[in-house]
Symmetry: C2
Subunit: 496 residues, 2 copies
C-alpha cells in the first residue's frame, strides 16, 4: 500500500539520519563523500524536459530568468541534478543561498524530528505570539553566531525586508536622537500618516556605485548595479558615491589603492555635507563588505574603518549588508570580522545561506516603542529550526577552517590559471571561498560559463565581466580539482 | 531510547493523519470537533511563564508587541493554548494568517509526506532554478484558485514584498506603454542606476486614508493608518484620498452613502489630475476590498467599479490588495469577487492565510524582460506544499459555504448585541466571517477585549475603536455561541 511504502521510506530516512548524525562526529563531511565523484552531462542544458517545463511555466509567468528545472530529490551535497538527469558541480548554489548543499542529512533530520513538526505546521505572528521555544532558539542559533559586540537580533522573511527594516532602525535612531529622546509630538504623529514632514522627514541613506541591497523600494534606492533591477521605478534622490576600484595584484598597488580609498572616503564626507546642506540629511551609510552582484569588488579593512570613523563622528548609522557574505563563506562567520573594526557596525543584515532574513543591531539602535519594526510573520521559526542544524554543523565540523583551506586552494588555482591565460583572466581575488576572477570581455566570460556547463560545472556571473564562485560551505579541495580541470580545458580551447 | 520514542510518535501522527484524511470525507471538520469544547483560563494572561519569557526575549529585541508566548504543540483547531496552559478561543488567529487553525491534520500530513521532504529541505532560487514539480504545484494550487480572468501568478515571500512587486509591475506597464512598447533607451538604462529620470521617472501611486499595505518603503508609502508604522521614515510624496466613511445600517443610508462614494470618486479623479499637472503622474491605484488594519471599513461594489472605470479610462494600474481579505474569509475565495467588476483588477496581491505571498496579474501587466520581478527566493515551494492542502480542504469540504453560514450567524449575533447594548456598540458589519463592530470609545473596546481574554476569548482590534473578527476558515456556529455568551456577559458588566 502506498502509504505504508511512504512510511517505510520516511523511517529509513530518519534512521539513516540518526546513525549519520550520532555515529560519526564528522557525519556531514562523510556524507558529502557520498556525492557523485564527478559531473555527468547527458543532454544539452536546458535539456528537453527543462524546455518543456519552461514552455509550460511560460503560460503562468515570465520565464526569462529560468535557467533549467531541477530534480532536488536527486541532488546531493555540491552536486545539482536537473530534470534531464544532468549532474552538475554547483558553484553558484541557488544564488549563494545553500549553506550545506543539497539534501544534507542534518536538514532532513530537522524536518523529520517530531518535536519540530508543529514549528513547520503553525507559522505564528512571531512578533506578537512567539512560540514557547523561541527565546532558546534565538539564543542557541542567531545569538550564538552574532557578530562581535552585537547582542540584539530581529528576524525577517527575506533579504530585502531585512535591509528595509535595518534602514528603518537607522531612521528611528536618527530622529530619536534629534528629539533628544523625547516622545514624538502630536504634529509628528499626524504628519507622518500623510507622508509629510516633520513626521516623515526628508532623510537619506548614502550607498555606493555597483551595490546591491534588494528589490523593494528602500533597498532598491540603495542599489546601483544593473538596469534590469531599477528601470521604470520611481526612486528617492538619495546620494551615492563610487566604490573603490582597486588595482590587482593588491600587493603591487598598495599606495595607489590606499589613495583611491582615501579619495572615496573624502567623497563620502563631501557628499554627506552636500546633502545636509540641501536639506536632505544623510542618516546612515549602507555597504556590503564585499560587493557581490556588482562585481565581487573588495575594499580594504582601512576603508571600512574609515566609514566607521565618519559615521561615528557624525552620529550616523552604519549598516553592513551581509546578506551574501555572511554565514561563514569568507572563513569567518561574518565577512566584516576580517576588518577588525574599532567599533562594530550598527546594523548587520543577513539572509540567503542563513535561511532566514534578519538583522543584528546595537542596543542603541533598538526602537523604544513596540510595533515600530514589525510585520505579520517577521520571519519563520521553521527556518530557524533548519538554521540551528546548519550552525551545529559549522561548529562541530569546524567548517570555517575548512572554508579557509578550500578558499586558499581555489584562489591559488585561479592565480595559476591567470598566469597560464593572461590574455583572458585577471584580478583573481577571494576571501574564503567567496572568490572571483575577471575576464577580458563579458562575451568571453559568458562563453566560458556556457562551455563549463556543457562539462557539468554550473557557475554564476556578476558585474560586467566577472565569474563569481559561490559554492556550499562543504566545498572541498577535491571539488576545486574537478572544477579546475574543466576550467583549464575550456580556457585552452579559446587559446586555439 | 529517545529516538525510538520520537519515531513512534511520528508514526502515530502520520497514521492518525492518514486515517483522518481518507476515512472521512469531512475529516477536517470532524477533526475540528476534537478541539476543546470551550476555553479554560488558569492564570492571568500573560501568565507567569509568558512573563518570564518576555523578560528573557527583552534581552534580545524589543518586546513591546508581544502579547504572550504560545504552546503550539498543544493548540488545536480554533483553540490556542499559551505557555501557562490557558486555552483560548482564537478569533484573531495570528493576525488573520491561519487558514485551518492549529495543527490541522492536512498540514501535518504535508510536512510528514516523504515526497515533500526535499521541498522543505532544499529551498531553491525559484525564479532561476525551479523544482521539477513547480509548474504542477502552481497549476494545482495557485492557478486553481485564481481570481476570475487572471491566469498569471508570481510568488513572493511576504505581504509587503507582494505589494512592492505588484507596484513594480504597474510601473513597468505604465512606462512600457509610454515607450510604445519599444526597448528602453541607453539614457533610460543609465539614468535609472543613479535613481534619476528618465530611467527612474517621478511616478506615483494613489492610495486611501486608513489603508494598510505593508511596512517596506513602497508599501508603507501607500499606508495611512497608524503613526507607529510610519513615524521617522522618509516617504515619497504620493497622493492619497479619503476612503468612504459609510453610515450604518447601510439599508437606511443608501442615498447618503452613494453620495459619499461618488464624491470620493470625484476626488480620485481630481487628485490624479492634480498630480499629473505637478509632474508626478499617477501610474496606479492601490486599495483593499475591505480596509482591515484601518478599521474594517467597507465600501460598495459601485465604488470599486468606479475605481476600475477611472483606472481603465486613464490606462492606470488597479491593484486590489487581498493580503488579509483573500483565501475564502469573505465566503468567496477573493473578496473582490463580491463586486462583480466588469473587468478584473490588474494586480491582486495575497499573503497571510495563503501561507505564501504573491500576486496575480493580467497578462498585459506581465513584464516583457526576465529579471524585472525577481529576488533570490521569490517565495518558497514548501509554503505552496502547505497551501495545496489548504486549497484541497477548502474545495473538498465546501468551506466557502461554511464560511457564509457562520459569517451570517456571527453578524446576526453582533446585531443582536448592538440592539441590546446600543450605547456601546454600533456599525455591526461583515462579509463571510470577516466582520467587525465599533465601540463608543477606544477605552471601552480595549477593556472589553481584556475582559474577553480573561474569559478565554482572544480577539483583535483595528482602527480607532473597532473590534475585528478574524477566525479560521473552520470557525462554526458553535464557536460563535461560545464567543457570544462571553461577549454578552462582558458587555452586561459594563452596563451595571
Amino acid at each position: 500500500m502506498l502509504v505504508t511504502r511512504r512510511l517505510n521510506l520516511l523511517l529509513r530516512t530518519i534512521e539513516k539520519t540518526h546513525n549519520d548524525s550520532t555515529g560519526d562526529k564528522h557525519a556531514s563531511l562523510s556524507i558529502a563523500v557520498s556525492e557523485p565523484s564527478e559531473p555527468k552531462v547527458v543532454t544539452d542544458i536546458p535539456g528537453p524536459k527543462s524546455k518543456q517545463l519552461i514552455q509550460e511555466l511560460d503560460q503562468i509567468q515570465n520565464v526569462g530568468a529560468v535557467h533549467f528545472f531541477c530534480d532536488y530529490d536527486n541532488s546531493h551535497g555540491n552536486y545539482l541534478t536537473d530534470v534531464d538527469g544532468n549532474v552538475m558541480l554547483d558553484l553558484y548554489t541557488q544564488i549563494s543561498s545553500l549553506p550545506l548543499g543539497y539534501n544534507h542529512p542534518a536538514l532532513i533530520n530537522a524536518v523529520s524530528k517530531p518535536e519540530n513538526l508543529s514549528t513547520f505546521v503553525n507559522r505564528p505572528a512571531l512578533g506578537v505570539y512567539p512560540p514557547a521555544d523561541w527565546v532558546s532558539r534565538l539564543q542557541n542559533v542567531l545569538v550564538s553566531v552574532s557578530p562581535p559586540g552585537m547582542t540584539q537580533v530581529q528576524t525577517m522573511a527575506c533579504g530585502a525586508c531585512s535591509v528595509e527594516h535595518g534602514l528603518k532602525a537607522i531612521f528611528i535612531k536618527y530622529m530619536s536622537d534629534k528629539r533628544g529622546g523625547k516622545a514624538p509630538s502630536k504634529e509628528d504623529m499626524e504628519s507622518c500618516i500623510a507622508n509629510e514632514a516633520p513626521g516623515s522627514p526628508p532623510l537619506t541613506i548614502l550607498s555606493f556605485s555597483n551595490s546591491f541591497h534588494g528589490r523593494t523600494m528602500g533597498a532598491l534606492a540603495c542599489t546601483h548595479s544593473k538596469w534590469l533591477h531599477k528601470l521604470d521605478f520611481p526612486m528617492p534622490a538619495w546620494p551615492h558615491v563610487r566604490f573603490p576600484d582597486l588595482k590587482y595584484p593588491l600587493e603591487e598597488f598598495v599606495e595607489e589603492n590606499r589613495a583611491e580609498e582615501n579619495k572615496i572616503l573624502e567623497e563620502v564626507e563631501d557628499k554627506i555635507e552636500e546633502y545636509n546642506k540641501k536639506g536632505l540629511p544623510v542618516a546612515g551609510v549602507i555597504v556590503e563588505p564585499v560587493q557581490c552582484e556588482g562585481g565581487d569588488n573588495f575594499a580594504s579593512a582601512d576603508f571600512f574603518q574609515g566609514l566607521r570613523d565618519i559615521t561615528s563622528k557624525r552620529g550616523l548609522g552604519y549598516l553592513m549588508d551581509e546578506v551574501q557574505t555572511g554565514c561563514g563563506v569568507t572563513g569567518k562567520f561574518w565577512a566584516h570580522e576580517h576588518f577588525n573594526l574599532t567599533d562594530t557596525p550598527d546594523i548587520v543584515t543577513f539572509s540567503k545561506k542563513m535561511l532566514t532574513g534578519g538583522f543584528y543591531n546595537k542596543s542603541s539602535f533598538r526602537p523604544k516603542e513596540g510595533y515600530r519594526i514589525l510585520n505579520t510573520w517577521v520571519g519563520d521559526p521553521s527556518k530557524i529550526a533548519l538554521l540551528g542544524e546548519v550552525v551545529n554543523v559549522i561548529k562541530e565540523d569546524n567548517i570555517l577552517d575548512e572554508v579557509k583551506v578550500t578558499g586558499d586552494y581555489l584562489l591559488s588555482g585561479l592565480k595559476q590559471m591567470q598566469v597560464k591565460y593572461p590574455g583572458m583572466l585577471s584580478k583573481s581575488r577571494g576571501l574564503g571561498t567567496l572568490s572571483a576572477v575577471d575576464f577580458n570581455t563579458a562575451a568571453t566570460r559568458d562563453k566560458v560559463m556556457a562551455n563549463l556547463r556543457k562539462k557539468g560545472v554550473h557557475t554564476g556571473s556578476c558585474g560586467e565581466k566577472t565569474l563569481r564562485f559561490r559554492p556550499t560551505l562543504l566545498f572541498q579541495n577535491k571539488h576545486v580539482d574537478v572544477f579546475m580541470e574543466r576550467f583549464d580545458d575550456v580556457l585552452s580551447q579559446f587559446e586555439k
